[in-house]
C-alpha cells in the first residue's frame, strides 16, 4: 500500500507543471451538490470543472461529444477524484459520439468544490458585471475574443468583450476598427496535430465585424489569416481568436 502511494506520489511529481492536450470522452460525476466534469487520459483522471452558471468562465463539456482538453496540471489535492488543470481550455468536438455517455452516481467521499450556485434555482441575484474598464481606457486599444477549437460560437463572456469594444469605439468616435480573425493548430500530447477547419478565421472575423456594425460601430474592416497558426502544446488555445483593434 505504502509502495503504491510512493509510486503515485512520484508520478504526481513528474506530472507537475506538465502541459496536456488530449481528446477524450468527458465523464460526469454526480455529487450531493453540482456535478463534476472529468476526463481520462493515459489511465489518469483529470478534473475539468463543475456545473455553474452561464456567467462562469468555465463552460462544461458535453456527453455525446468528445472534448479537447488543453491544460496544465495544477499542484494540489485531487478535486472530485481528478487532478485539477489550470489554466484550462476545453472544446466540445462537434461531431456526435454516442459512446461518450458516462454519468456516474454520487459516492460518499467525492465532493464537488463549493459552487457559487447549486443545482436548484439561484439564491442570489446574478452578479452585476464588473463596470467596464473602458472609462479608464484611452488611445488605441485591442480587444480579444477567444474561441473553442473549430468553433465560431461567440460565448457569453465573448459577447461582453464585443460589447466593451463597441462601447469604446463609440465613445471615442473611432476612426477605424480593424477586426482580424485567426485559426490555429493544437499540438496534442501524443504528438498528433489538430488543425482548425479552413475558412474559420474568415468566418470568425466576419461574424465579429457584423456584431460590431450591428452595435452601431462604423468604419469596421475585417481581415483574416487563412493559414492556421502552428501549435506548441502550451499556448494553442490562446491563438484561436479574433482581435478588435480600435483606433482613435
Amino acid at each position: 500500500m505504502r509502495a503504491a502511494f510512493c509510486v503515485w506520489l512520484f508520478a504526481a511529481a513528474v506530472a507537475a507543471a506538465q502541459d496536456l492536450s488530449f481528446v477524450a470522452c468527458p465523464i460526469v460525476r454526480d455529487t450531493k451538490t453540482v456535478p463534476c466534469f472529468l476526463a481520462e487520459y493515459q489511465g489518469e483522471t483529470y478534473f475539468l470543472g463543475i456545473q455553474q452558471d452561464i456567467t462562469a468562465a468555465f463552460h462544461p463539456p458535453q456527453l455525446k461529444h468528445e472534448v479537447l482538453v488543453e491544460g496544465r496540471i495544477k499542484e494540489g489535492p485531487r478535486v472530485c477524484g481528478g487532478i485539477p488543470l489550470a489554466p484550462l481550455s476545453i472544446s466540445v468536438v462537434k461531431e456526435v459520439n454516442p459512446a461518450c455517455n458516462t454519468l456516474l452516481p454520487a459516492e460518499p467521499g467525492i465532493e464537488a468544490p463549493p459552487a457559487p450556485r447549486g443545482a436548484g434555482p439561484s439564491s442570489h441575484p446574478l452578479a452585476e458585471p464588473a463596470p467596464p474598464a473602458n472609462e479608464t481606457l484611452t488611445g488605441r486599444q485591442e480587444f480579444t475574443v477567444r474561441y473553442a477549437f473549430n468553433d465560431d460560437y461567440v460565448e457569453f463572456g465573448s459577447i461582453a468583450v464585443v460589447r466593451r469594444a463597441a462601447a469604446y469605439a463609440t465613445k471615442i468616435g473611432a476612426s477605424a476598427v480593424k477586426v482580424t480573425g485567426y485559426c490555429a493548430t493544437t499540438l496534442l500530447s501524443n504528438g498528433g496535430r489538430l488543425v482548425e477547419k479552413a475558412g474559420l478565421a474568415e468566418k470568425r472575423a466576419q461574424d465579429i465585424a457584423t456584431l460590431l456594425r450591428g452595435s452601431g460601430v462604423a468604419a469596421v474592416t475585417a481581415d483574416w489569416n487563412k493559414d492556421a497558426e502552428p501549435g506548441d502544446g502550451k499556448t494553442d488555445a490562446s491563438r484561436r481568436r479574433v482581435t478588435i483593434e480600435v483606433i482613435p
Binding site: L63, V96, A119, P121, V154
Partner: protein, 493 residues
C-alpha cells in the same frame, strides 16, 4: 393508496359534471357585442379571467374583429378571448358542428390539412379539429428581408406526407414556389408585454445579432412566434392578414396600429379552480390571475428562490387539499432537480450536458414561464427519437416527416448528428441552420386550462400528457402524486 385513487377519481367525476355546463363564447368576425373590461369564461378546470386593460372594447369595425382579407376570417377567429386568446380543439369541434364546417376558421388555405383536399369533408380538417393545428406554409429556402435566399446548411426531403401537401405539385416542396408545410398551434395573443420584453442586441444562444423591429430599429425578444420568424406584433399582424386572412391588399397602418394596441392591453389567466376555488389570493402567490399580469413588470428573471417565476406558494401549503397540491406542484416546478440533457440551445450554450437543474432553469421568465433569452429550444417534441409520435413506423401519425441532411461543411445538430428525422424542423426553416432543427420557441404558461391541446404540435391532449412527456424525455422519475400536483399547478396559471 385508496385515498390517492379517491382524490383522483372524485375530481374526474365532478369535472365531467362541470363540463356539461360550461359557458363558452365564440366571437364571430363582424360581431357587435361589446367586450367588457373584465370577463369570465368557463373551462374544464375552472374559470379564465380576461382583462381589457384599456376598458371595454367595441368590436364593430375594429380591425382585430373585422375580416381584412378574402376568406372571411379576422384575427379573432384564432385568438378567442374565451379560449385564452387562442383556440382549443374542443372549441373548433364545436364550431365544425354548429356551422357544418362553414366557419372561416376552417378556410382551405390553412384551416385544412391541405387546400387541395375536398373541403367539405371533416377528415380534410383533422389536424385542426383534433389537435388545433393550422397549416403554416413556409417558403423554401428561407429568405432575407430583401427577398434574397438565405444560405442553408442542409437539404430537406419529405419522408411521409399524410396530408398530401408537402408532395403536392401545387403546394409542396417541389412546386413552382417550393414550400414546406408544417402544422402548429396558434399562440395566445394575450399577456404580450411579457412576450415581447427583453430584446438584446446579441442573442445569447447563438452569439449572433437579434432581429430588429423595423419600426423602431430596436432588437426584439424573438419570443413571439414558435419559429421567431416575425420580429414584432406589427409584422406578425401584417403577415397574418396577408396569409391567414388571404388579403389581397395590405392593411393600413391605422388598422395595424389598432390591432397591436388591442393585443397589447389584453391579459388572460385562470382565476378559479374547480376544486381549489378562487386562485387570486392576497396572501398567496402574487402571479395568479390576469390583474397580476396587467400590473407586474415584464423582463424579470424568476429562476431563483426569493422572487420565483410564479411567486411564493408557501401560504397555500397549510390550506385545503387542492391548494396544498398546487403548492407542491409549484415546488416541483421550481425545485425538483433532474438531469436536463441533449437539449439544443440549453445544454449547448455553456451550461454543459447534462446539467442538474429544474424546470425553472429554462422556463425562467417571471409571470409567463417562457425564457427571458430568445427562447427557441429543441426539447425533442418534433425530432426522432424523442418526438411525440409516431412511436414506430406501424403507428400512423397525421404529421409529415422530413429527413434533414446536414452539409459536410456545416456543424451538425448537437445531439442528432448529420441526419435528422423530424415532424417540424422549427427554427431551422427560418435560420437555415442544422443546429436549429427541431427548435421551437417556448410558449407562455398562462390560461393553459382554456387552450388544450399543448405543445406547438398539439400532441398533448391535456396537461397530464405534457407532464408525462417531460417525465419520459428527461427520466425525471416523477411519482403519480408528483404528476398530479404538477397538473394542478399548471391548471391554475
Amino acid at each position: 393508496m385508496h385515498r390517492l385513487l379517491l382524490a383522483i377519481a372524485l375530481p374526474l367525476t365532478l369535472a365531467a359534471q362541470y363540463n356539461a355546463n360550461l359557458r363558452s363564447i365564440w366571437i364571430e368576425p363582424g360581431g357587435k357585442e361589446r367586450l367588457p373590461a373584465f370577463d369570465l369564461f368557463d373551462n374544464a378546470l375552472g374559470k379564465l379571467g380576461v382583462i381589457q386593460a384599456s376598458g371595454p372594447v367595441d368590436p364593430a369595425g375594429h380591425p382585430f374583429f373585422t375580416p381584412l382579407g378574402t376568406n372571411g376570417r379576422a384575427c379573432v377567429n384564432c385568438h378567442q378571448p374565451g379560449w385564452g386568446m387562442s383556440v382549443s380543439a374542443e372549441s373548433l369541434q364545436d364550431r365544425w358542428r354548429s356551422t357544418s364546417g362553414k366557419d372561416p376558421v376552417f378556410a382551405a388555405f390553412d384551416g385544412s390539412n391541405c387546400p387541395a383536399l375536398p373541403q367539405d369533408l371533416e377528415k380534410s380538417h383533422s389536424l385542426l379539429l383534433h389537435r388545433g393545428l393550422f397549416r403554416i406554409p413556409l417558403s423554401w429556402p428561407p429568405r432575407n428581408a430583401d427577398g434574397s435566399p438565405k444560405p442553408v446548411e442542409f437539404s430537406i426531403e419529405v419522408v411521409s406526407d399524410p396530408t398530401g401537401c408537402n408532395l403536392s405539385p401545387k403546394y409542396g416542396l417541389k412546386s413552382g414556389q417550393p414550400t414546406v408545410s408544417v402544422y402548429r398551434r396558434p399562440r395566445p395573443a394575450a399577456n404580450l408585454k411579457y412576450v415581447v420584453a427583453g430584446g438584446q442586441n446579441i442573442v445569447l444562444k447563438t452569439g449572433m445579432l437579434a432581429d430588429r423591429d423595423p419600426d423602431t430599429g430596436r432588437p426584439v425578444s424573438m419570443n413571439l412566434m414558435s419559429d421567431a420568424r416575425e420580429p414584432s406584433l406589427m409584422t406578425q399582424a401584417m403577415s397574418a392578414i396577408m396569409g391567414h386572412e388571404e388579403a389581397r391588399e395590405a392593411p393600413s397602418r391605422q388598422q395595424l396600429d389598432a390591432i397591436v394596441a388591442y393585443e397589447s392591453q389584453i391579459y388572460a389567466a385562470q382565476v378559479e379552480h374547480i376544486f381549489a376555488g378562487p386562485v387570486v389570493d392576497p396572501e398567496g402567490p402574487f402571479a395568479l390571475g390576469p390583474v397580476a399580469l396587467r400590473d407586474r413588470r415584464p423582463g424579470v428573471l424568476g429562476d431563483n428562490d426569493y422572487d420565483p417565476v410564479f411567486g411564493q406558494f408557501k401560504s397555500w401549503k397549510s390550506q385545503d387539499y387542492y391548494r396544498r397540491s398546487i403548492a407542491r406542484g409549484a415546488d416541483i416546478f421550481m425545485f425538483r432537480q433532474f438531469w436536463l440533457r441533449d437539449t439544443t440551445h440549453i445544454n449547448t450554450i455553456g451550461l454543459g450536458n447534462p446539467m442538474k437543474r429544474t424546470c425553472a432553469t429554462c422556463h425562467n421568465a417571471q409571470m409567463t414561464g417562457q425564457d427571458l433569452s430568445a427562447g427557441w429550444v429543441d426539447v425533442g417534441t418534433t425530432n426522432y427519437p424523442t418526438w411525440t409520435e409516431p412511436a414506430t413506423w406501424s403507428e400512423s401519425s397525421e404529421l409529415p416527416v422530413f429527413k434533414i441532411t446536414c452539409k459536410p461543411e456545416a456543424d451538425p445538430h448537437p445531439y442528432l448528428g448529420r441526419v435528422i428525422y423530424t415532424t417540424d424542423p422549427g427554427r431551422a426553416l427560418i435560420s437555415g441552420r442544422c443546429v436549429d432543427v427541431g427548435s421551437i420557441v417556448m410558449q407562455q404558461f398562462r390560461g393553459l386550462a382554456s387552450r388544450a391541446p399543448y405543445f406547438a404540435n398539439g400532441s398533448a391532449k391535456d396537461l397530464r400528457e405534457v407532464v408525462d412527456y417531460y417525465d419520459r424525455r428527461f427520466d425525471m422519475k416523477l411519482t403519480e402524486a408528483e404528476k398530479y400536483d404538477l397538473v394542478n399547478f399548471l391548471g391554475v396559471l
